[in-house]
Symmetry: C2
Subunit: 154 residues, 2 copies
DNA sequence: AGGCTATAGTTCCAAAATAGAACTGTCAAA
DNA sequence: TTTGACAGTTCTATTTTGGAACTATAGCCT
């Protein structure tokens, strides 16, 4: 597969994978949601090589997920801030964190707890149907071809 | 980073990434949710090299996400079925599909539509708080160190 | 003025992962 | 007996990563 044109695929999952489908990108985004914004911050907390970090940040900026904002004029220095498009990745990250808590946990318990500020409680993320509000399960979902589908599969 | 011990990291996201954090694995899982079960099925719909497909399927079986079930005795043939642990990845996949639909769509419209069998309507997946049921947004969440956390960050 | 430190990268080479194609082995059907 | 379907394995070439060192700008200290 030609990963460089993955974002032109018909499948929405492929298009998402094109931008966030690698290990480092996902970990960088985790740091973004933990309020890390600067090159040295990402580098020291992730132990990613500077070369790859540089690559990934550029790609995230090109994809419109991060904005590169100057925070110092002399010397010129920038920090990386999530755009709305980037903030909208939150459910993906939370879904992954929750699956890890549920299925990959160890005896120590979960490393982070999440508090929902609007209700004040510790919570788990739950994915529900936008129409009826019930929790979603794979077996209750039927897939139809949509308007953007070239040929029918599945 | 040593990717082979990523599943021993303290971070739940890292542990999830250890098993589903690469492009092909995610695409294979998409096919699983579209009811593909066999080697040739995955190979022909994804155009993945047979070598990598073989590797990834083995890893998914080792991780307990797929089960390798015989469907023919002579010759011995197997198919790959999602376990409950695998089925629980559904929110991750759906979150990614939904983000792709929202932010990476093109003029043709979305390729697939999802019907919730229990309510009969076409829906979008929404991530909500398990406690109050409100939709989750990154800025409304506060992170605490949990019992499995060695040191405090973030 | 000279040297140290902080920040944000870039460059270079070795090691690992992936792509692409061909090959293996088992069995059924023609 | 030949062909085809299925489920892989093996091989080499290319691409991506990892790891370490290097560059560049500017503030601060003496």
């Amino acid at each position: 597969m030609k990963w460089d044109t993955l974002d032109e695929e018909q499948c929405s999952l492929s298009r998402t994978i094109a931008v966030v489908g690698d290990r480092w990108t996902l970990l960088i985004l985790r740091e973004c949601f933990l309020r890390v914004r600067r090159f040295e911050g990402f580098q020291s907390s992730l132990q990613i090589t500077r070369h790859l970090l540089s690559e990934r940040l550029k790609k995230l900026v090109r994809s419109g997920i991060l904005r590169r904002v100057p925070y110092s004029e002399a010397p010129k220095r920038y920090e990386y801030i999530l755009t709305q498009k980037g903030l909208d990745l939150y459910p993906i990250i939370m879904a992954m964190v929750h699956w890890g808590d549920t299925h990959m946990g160890d005896e120590r318990g979960r490393p982070l707890l999440h508090e929902h500020k609007t209700c004040g409680k510790l919570f788990d993320p739950v994915m529900v149907c936008s129409e009826c509000g019930d929790p979603l399960h794979a077996k209750q979902v039927h897939v139809h071809a949509g308007p953007g589908r070239k040929e029918v599969v599945g």
